[in-house]
């Protein structure tokens, strides 16, 4: 079973701060890491490999920091990695990213299963899995919270708003997963050390045979007009004496008309 897992590095959302005056997020200098959904996809790929044999390849497009970030994927158990970090790729929108991943997957050749997170931890647009499936002309099954590979098929449980759907799809297929799927392992030190020796290939525009106008900023189809923290006009009246606080808050809520 050849499994390809597409991952994305995201800034550590726990550490985002907002500039109070301009409402701009401060992203400079924040650590980058793999998203939680991506780790679930990786964990699942490794479990499938442990059961059925085969190979797991992690593929990611992003900044040069991927050289380090991708090691986490290798520590979880990917056998090798392909990173797409060329300056020409920077600024790609979801279509550009999907094109890059599709080209890289095409170059890798044989595969049975493509796994991704159902959305990235940062923007959670969920666009790359369906777009990638369309580019590769494959079926896609999303919102997967349980899955099993049997007889060259995936049997998956989809988590919809009002129902769980059990579906079967022939491989190859694109499966995008939620964080309920599994609990990703914390790699032991030995696995982290071993990860440093696993092959990481860096592919650029020539390797992927992509033209400059099909990826990167130039090809972006979505213009971001602004990206600011929402305006929150809250009173921020905090009582450090709990006893007093309880009484005062009840009075305030009555004044506000939210308590009868």
């Amino acid at each position: 079973m050849n499994i390809i897992v597409c991952v994305k590095q995201v800034v550590d959302l726990e550490q985002i701060r907002i500039k109070p005056d301009s409402r701009q997020p401060v992203l400079d200098g924040l650590p980058v890491l793999l998203g939680d959904f991506d780790k679930c996809a990786l964990e699942e790929s490794v479990r499938i490999k442990e059961k059925l044999g085969g190979k797991v390849t992690a593929v990611a497009a992003g900044s040069a920091k991927l050289k380090d970030t991708i090691k986490e994927a290798l520590a979880i158990g990917a056998d090798e990695a392909v990173i797409l970090t060329d300056p020409a790729f920077q600024g790609s929108d979801t279509m550009g990213s999907a094109r890059l991943l599709a080209k890289a997957i095409g170059r890798l050749g044989e595969y049975d299963l493509i796994l991704l997170g159902d959305g990235s931890d940062d923007n959670y647009s969920g666009q790359v899995p369906p777009r990638l499936a369309e580019l590769l002309n494959l079926p896609q099954v999303g919102a997967v919270r349980e899955m099993e590979v049997v007889d060259n098929k995936v049997r998956a449980v989809r988590d919809l708003e009002d129902a769980l759907e059990v579906v079967e799809v022939d491989l190859p297929a694109v499966i995008s997963v939620t964080s309920e799927l599994n609990t990703p392992r914390l790699p032991p030190l030995s696995a982290i050390l071993k990860a440093g020796r696993k092959p990481v290939h860096t592919w650029g525009p020539d390797d992927l045979e992509v033209t400059a106008d099909s990826v990167g900023t130039a090809a972006s189809t979505v213009e971001v007009l602004s990206n600011l923290a929402p305006v929150q006009d809250r009173k921020e009246i905090v009582f450090e004496d709990a006893e007093e606080g309880v009484v005062e808050v009840i009075k305030a809520l009555q004044r506000e008309g939210v308590l009868e």
Binding site: V11, L13, I18, D93, T94, M95, G119, D122, N123, Y124, S125, G126, Q127, P130, R131, A133, E134, L135, L138, P139, Q140, V141, G142, R158, L160, E161, D162, A163, E165, V166, V167, V169, A173, T178, E180, T221, V222, E223, V224, L225, S226, N227, L228, P230, Q232, R234, E236, I237, V238, F239, E240, A242, G245, V249, A252, L253, E256, V258, L259, E260
Partner: protein, 321 residues
């Protein structure tokens, strides 16, 4: 030249809400408003769509549409987009819509925005807003490709009849491959008794609660207020103390109560993204530096095991006048 707004949702009420908003956008952009109706019996919805502002209904039926599969539905919609000469496609960001919209966009080589929280026309352009960076920011975006595919948050727009009544039904012959996925089983979820999204008063609990057995205390407070209990992701998805339907925040429910009380919740944006529409926010936390106090109207610094019983006591004594 192609120009027109096409609305599709697998949920009839959502489609009518999108048409209601679509009327405003169609007027602002000077484009006709149409609806796509897919699958067996969908044509019967045409009159309701006309009553909500559509002037055209494109009807497609094919055995391949008997079960919803994003790839097949995207192919059907792409054919209707072509026939209708539509350039803006509006759908809902349901779990299905989140698969459908990007797949359709890729077929059209178009930009796409999912989970849009607002739509407006500014200087002749359609501008969307969506949450970004895990909910920390609002990204205002406009799509620059000839086709634009936008999936808006479900139930964002209420359906209200209006516009000119009557419209034209066009049958579209679809050429579709059979679905590649097979539906084996559908298990309806138990309808939760707890309606977090519709609650007027919402009491949310987070990691500050030590034991599952302490939940009745929180429920007692909610009952005293006439409210319901919600929670952060840890409580529902890690500890499984409450149902996943009660989780508020990123990838969970978005609540808009008149009163929200957050107890033992630090205030990570992953949770607060789901409460920002509350009229009044109250926070109880033993850490006076907890970020939740920054988005709260009123805060009480203290141990929830002392503060919550005091609150219950005060509320049940009858409120002072």
């Amino acid at each position: 030249m192609m120009s027109g707004i096409l609305v599709y949702s697998e949920l009839q009420s959502t489609a009518l809400g999108l048409l209601t908003k679509g009327r405003e956008l169609a007027a602002g952009l000077g484009k006709p408003l149409a609806v796509a109706l897919l699958g067996e019996g969908a044509a019967a919805q045409a009159d309701a769509c006309f009553a909500h502002g559509a002037s055209q209904a494109y009807v497609g039926n094919d055995p391949a549409l008997s079960v919803f599969q994003a790839g097949v539905y995207a192919a059907a919609l792409a054919q209707i987009v072509d026939r209708a000469q539509a350039d803006i496609i509006l759908t809902a960001s349901t779990r299905r819509g989140r698969e459908l919209a990007p797949r359709l966009a890729q077929k059209l080589a178009a930009g796409c925005v999912t989970d849009a929280t607002s739509l407006s026309v500014e200087e002749g352009r359609l501008v969307t807003e969506r949450r970004a960076l895990g909910g920390a920011t609002v990204s205002r975006e406009t799509i620059t490709s000839p086709h634009q595919v936008i999936a808006v948050m479900p139930r964002l727009f209420d359906a209200e009849p209006g516009g000119e009544s009557g419209g034209e039904v066009t049958q579209v012959d679809l050429a579709l491959d059979p679905p590649a996925t097979k539906l084996v089983e559908r298990r309806p979820k138990e309808v939760g008794a707890v309606d977090v999204e519709g609650a007027e008063i919402l009491v949310c609990i987070g990691r500050g609660l030590s034991e599952e057995s302490d939940l009745p205390m929180i429920q007692t407070l909610a009952d005293a207020l006439g409210g319901v209990v919600g929670c952060t992701r840890d409580i529902s998805h890690e500890y499984h103390w409450l149902s996943e339907e009660q989780m508020v925040g990123l990838s969970g429910k978005v609540a808009s109560p008149s009163l929200y009380i957050g107890i033992g919740i630090s205030g990570q944006i992953q949770h607060t993204v789901g409460i920002l529409d509350s009229k009044v926010i109250v926070a109880i936390n033993k850490d006076k530096n907890a970020p939740i106090f920054k988005v709260a109207d009123y805060g009480v610094v203290g141990d929830l095991y002392q503060v919550v019983p005091r609150l219950i006591e005060q509320l049940s004594e009858g409120l002072p006048s």
